[in-house]
């Protein structure tokens, strides 16, 4: 297959995909095309999208690649979509941060860090599929241990958990 042709197919698939696409998945669909070619074409697409006249970006997120609108156009897109500002509250963000950095972690452990009850917040996070119960802790009561999901990575534009900025060390 011609390089141009593969590139065109990549763009089509990225457009119709309903989540981040892995290189592996591309290889499966475009049988016979090697990973290196696909990687190279992804880089080409990414750099083309950097032109100021382009309104999309190709981000590496949650283990795959995904087309997203350019950040500079955020306000216009919001206006167009009829912006309800989906701002996450501080309680939600803080709880999410604690789970992200300390996973797997129990509710009681989160509460001892935040100093407040997090029942409602955990329910919200579970509903939004940003965290999930990953196991149970081997202590009396066998409480659930929570961890983050792929949706969490997508929400915050993270390739994987190692991309989380390192926690600031405290100077004790």
């Amino acid at each position: 297959m011609e390089r141009e042709e593969i590139k065109s197919i990549l763009e089509s698939l990225l457009f119709v995909a309903d989540g981040p696409l892995t290189v592996q998945r591309f290889v499966e669909v475009l049988d016979g095309v090697d990973k290196e070619t696909i990687h190279a074409l992804i880089l080409e697409l990414q750099s083309e999208l950097e032109a100021p006249s382009r309104g999309l970006q190709l981000v590496e997120v949650a283990g795959g690649y995904q087309l997203r609108t350019a950040k500079v156009n955020a306000d216009w897109v919001k206006k167009f979509l009829g912006g309800r500002p989906a701002r996450m509250g501080r309680a939600t963000l803080e709880t999410l941060a604690i789970i992200a950095y300390r996973q797997p972690i129990t509710k009681a452990e989160i509460e001892s860090i935040r100093g407040v009850d997090v029942d409602g917040v955990i329910t919200t996070l579970l509903e939004r599929n940003l965290v999930r119960a990953v196991a149970r802790k081997d202590v009396p009561g066998r409480p659930f241990l929570y961890g983050t999901t792929g949706e969490f990575l997508q929400l915050f534009n993270l390739k994987d958990l190692t991309e989380l900025p390192t926690l600031k060390e405290t100077d004790e």
Binding site: A91, E94, G115, L167
Partner: protein, 258 residues
């Protein structure tokens, strides 16, 4: 202390303490406990006088602060010594540890919030069906489309049949059985065709309710090949008598036409 109204809503006692520490420009590791305790209690008073709910955690922290303050007043080594395995340590240590830990995650949360957040800063395509993909099976029909179709059927009905409604005793359950029978025999049936035999408004509504019940338990699927095209009812799964019974039993026996 100057009495200016705190408008900020605190996430919890630790958050309030961090705020006070910052406001006083003091170090977390060397908290002037008397001053901070005084301001902490004053803030709780203020919140209460504003009729804001002060959660229990705030009060627990208040007593912790008072306890630490009292221990700070004692000469070192001459501790009251009931709950202190930590004798000789700074009574503030545990609080400092908690504050530092909480502060780290508070900052981490701010970092997360500054990233390109999906559906706030950047957007993905809505999962719109892609026309170029061709017929990829049928698309499922929403209840609103069903209602529109139902309205078409009712509108087509002659007005004078409205009166024999009360003479009938059709139950939703009967209609469900009937629909399942038809589907077992034919596999699928056109939405409008299924209503063709109905001769009263009530029967149509009962039939419609029966269909919705079956959709709800996924016994049938209602699909449409293209927008505004004909709507088809099809069996979603092969039903054996047990599961059919289970589906039917969930409907009350009340006849709707009575």
């Amino acid at each position: 202390m100057s009495t200016h109204v705190e408008t900020e809503i605190f996430e919890g006692p630790l958050d309030l303490l961090l705020h006070l520490i910052k406001k006083n420009e003091v170090s977390i590791t060397d908290i002037p406990i008397a001053t901070i305790t005084e301001q902490y209690l004053a803030t709780l008073d203020l919140l209460q006088s504003l009729s804001l709910d002060v959660a229990g955690e705030f009060l627990v922290m208040a007593s912790t602060l008072i306890h630490i303050k009292s221990r700070m007043l004692l000469p070192a080594g001459d501790d009251v010594g009931d709950d202190d395995e930590d004798q000789g340590l700074d009574p503030r240590d545990e609080l400092v540890r908690r504050l530092l830990e909480y502060q780290r995650y508070k900052e981490a949360a701010q970092d997360l919030d500054q990233r390109e957040v999906l559906s706030r800063d950047v957007f993905t395509r809505s999962a719109a069906p892609n026309e170029e993909a061709g017929p990829r099976g049928f698309r499922e029909v929403s209840v609103f489309e069903l209602l529109a179709a139902l309205k078409r059927i009712i509108d087509r009905l002659p007005k004078d049949t409205f009166h024999d409604v009360t003479l009938e005793k059709i139950t939703v359950r009967e209609k469900m059985t009937h629909l399942l029978d038809v589907l077992r025999a034919q596999g699928s049936v056109l939405f409008e065709a299924f209503f063709a035999t109905a001769n009263s408004r009530m029967e149509i509504i009962v039939t419609f309710l029966a269909m919705l019940e079956l959709v709800k338990v996924r016994a049938i699927r209602i699909v449409q090949e293209q927008l505004a095209g004909p709507i088809t009812i099809e069996a979603a799964a092969v039903m054996d008598s047990v599961s059919e019974q289970a589906v039917l039993e969930q409907v009350e026996e009340e006849p709707y036409g009575a």
